[in-house]
């Protein structure tokens, strides 16, 4: 059975289509999610490449090292920006009309998730082209690259579910910092600039327990064709999705109860 012909599928497709239509007709909404990762890539890969000369920095290319970070970061921010759109839809009343018109209201989350994924895919294409043009090296096999893509897609889905949960609880754009801040914290306390064993102080401890660390390290290993801890990363991302599904569902219930 084609999932897009079910009631759930049709509703999710319609919501995703609307989101993507808004994104295309209002470039100001998509530009930040494209420009920010490129900017981070330029600032980190360009400005900090000397750090790779530090003793014990054992990764072959700093540009590649930062490319994987920017890929995972944009996966998360694709979800974050979609959360802003959900909050705006609630604030301006459109989401309430969608709640009334949708038979299975979980389709709302499904639709937003599809839109978030398409948005992220667009960003990944742009970031990848720029990274390859500026010296990122890809030594992994097709299977390795599909592994990176799978991790990024799962992170994007988890972030969208998290952002949906917050947006549906507060139903206002003023909740944007509550979506953005945790995402920012989880991203920045992972091994962003150097491998984990070169991090000092409290961030080293936080990075050990940060789920983003496993996904980043697996991605960085896959891209150089030396897979390591891939299953752990997929498991962590899957665990995040499981937790966030519950978070998003309860958020949806709150939104329904608020009317």
């Amino acid at each position: 059975m084609n999932p897009f012909t079910t009631r759930f599928g049709r509703a999710a497709r319609a919501i995703a289509w609307r989101q993507l239509h808004v994104m295309v007709t209002k470039p100001t909404l998509i530009l930040p999610s494209v420009i920010f990762p490129l900017f981070f890539f330029a600032a980190f890969a360009g400005g900090l490449s000397a750090v790779s000369a530090a003793p014990s920095f054992d990764y072959p290319s700093y540009t590649t090292f930062q490319y994987v970070f920017v890929l995972m970061q944009s996966a998360i921010f694709g979800g974050v920006f979609t959360g802003f759109a959900i909050a705006a839809d609630f604030e301006f009343g459109f989401a309430r009309r969608m709640l009334l018109a949708t038979h299975n209201r979980s389709a709302l989350i499904g639709g937003y998730a599809i839109a978030a994924l398409v948005r992220a895919l667009l960003v990944w294409v742009v970031v990848t082209v720029v990274a390859l043009a500026t010296g990122a090296e890809v030594a992994g096999s097709v299977g390795d690259l599909l592994g990176i893509l799978a991790i990024a897609v799962m992170l994007n889905f988890a972030a969208t579910l998290f952002a949906s949960g917050v947006a549906m609880r507060f139903r206002t754009l003023q909740a944007a910092p509550l979506i953005q801040l945790p995402a920012f914290l989880i991203i920045m306390t992972a091994p962003v600039y150097v491998p984990r064993d070169l991090i000092e102080g409290w961030v080293a401890t936080v990075a050990d327990f940060n789920p983003m660390t496993a996904t980043l390290e697996a991605g960085r290993a896959l891209i150089i064709g030396a897979p390591a801890e891939t299953l752990l990363a997929l498991g962590v991302a899957g665990g995040l999705i499981a937790v966030m599904i519950n978070w998003a569902r309860t958020g949806l219930r709150r939104a329904e109860a608020a009317g």
Binding site: A42, A50, Y193, E200
Partner: protein, 274 residues
């Protein structure tokens, strides 16, 4: 027509007189009170730069092992960026305040008073100056508590705060110009990412001579924010570096001059529109 003419005369951009100073005093008191009463204006500008400082000083500590790195403490090195980041928050604070005044009608009421333009600009910047000083004190105390070193010693503290206040006012005047020109808080927020571009494409994370990418080194050399960061940093890392401090104060004064010109022009434009 007469009311408009009176209003325009009232906010004229005449020379500084005792009356103007009194007006600056009133608006400064309002601006400072608003800053103190709304911790939400100060807290982000304290928390975010300190968080980034904490993350960077741990994550980039390995950079101190690079040959030619000027200190063995990345925390000490990174403080210049923290002070600069605080100043960029001042830009937003000043812009948001004046945009809020415009959106909520306070600015229109001011037009009905014999208030002078320089008083409005000067008064609005008082809160920013206070915010810059509070931030400076907080950054310094917290950084020293966590092991940072101020090479310039105790005599460097007033210079540090003077530079912090000057940079805060300079960037605050830019925020004021943006707020006056747009009259919209969201538009002011929209400029924030641009400020971050200036911050990140600078010598904030590594000394310029250690930046490997030629294009990045060129951008960092052109970017005036690099010189401001290096001025702050010199007090922590190298002590009394006349060139770095001279460049920092010079750039800050140039930004202030440009910001005041832009704010005055924007104020004049807004007067004509309303």
């Amino acid at each position: 027509m007469n009311a408009t003419a009176t209003a325009l005369r009232g906010v004229g951009l005449g020379g500084v007189s005792a009356g103007t100073l009194t007006q600056v005093g009133y608006l400064a008191r309002r601006s400072i009170t608003r800053t103190v009463r709304q911790p939400i204006l100060i807290i982000p500008s304290l928390v975010f730069p300190l968080f980034l400082l904490a993350v960077n000083s741990s994550g980039l500590d390995a950079a101190t092992l690079l040959p030619g790195f000027p200190t063995n403490s990345y925390l000490t090195f990174a403080l210049g960026l923290t002070f600069m980041q605080g100043a960029l928050f001042a830009t937003m604070g000043a812009g948001q305040s004046i945009a809020g005044d415009i959106q909520h009608g306070f600015f229109n009421r001011l037009q009905l008073t014999p208030l002078r333009g320089p008083a409005l600009i000067g008064g609005q910047l008082a809160g920013v100056t206070l915010q810059g000083l509070i931030q400076g004190v907080a950054y310094l105390i917290i950084a020293l508590a966590f092991g940072a070193h101020l090479e310039a010693g105790i005599a460097g503290v007033p210079v540090l705060f003077a530079l912090s206040a000057l940079v805060g006012v300079a960037f605050g005047s830019l925020g004021l110009a943006i707020g006056l020109r747009t009259g919209n808080g969201e538009a002011v927020q929209g400029v924030f990412p641009l400020m971050f571009v200036l911050l990140f494409l600078s010598s904030g994370a590594l000394p310029r001579h250690l930046i490997e990418a030629d294009w990045f080194q060129t951008v960092a050399t052109i970017n005036p924010v690099s010189y401001l960061i290096e001025g702050f940093r010199s007090l922590f890392v190298s002590g009394w570096d006349g060139e770095a401090l001279g460049l920092a104060f010079g750039v800050a004064l140039a930004v202030l001059a440009f910001g005041m010109w832009a704010a005055t022009t924007a104020l004049r434009g807004r007067m004509e529109r309303t």
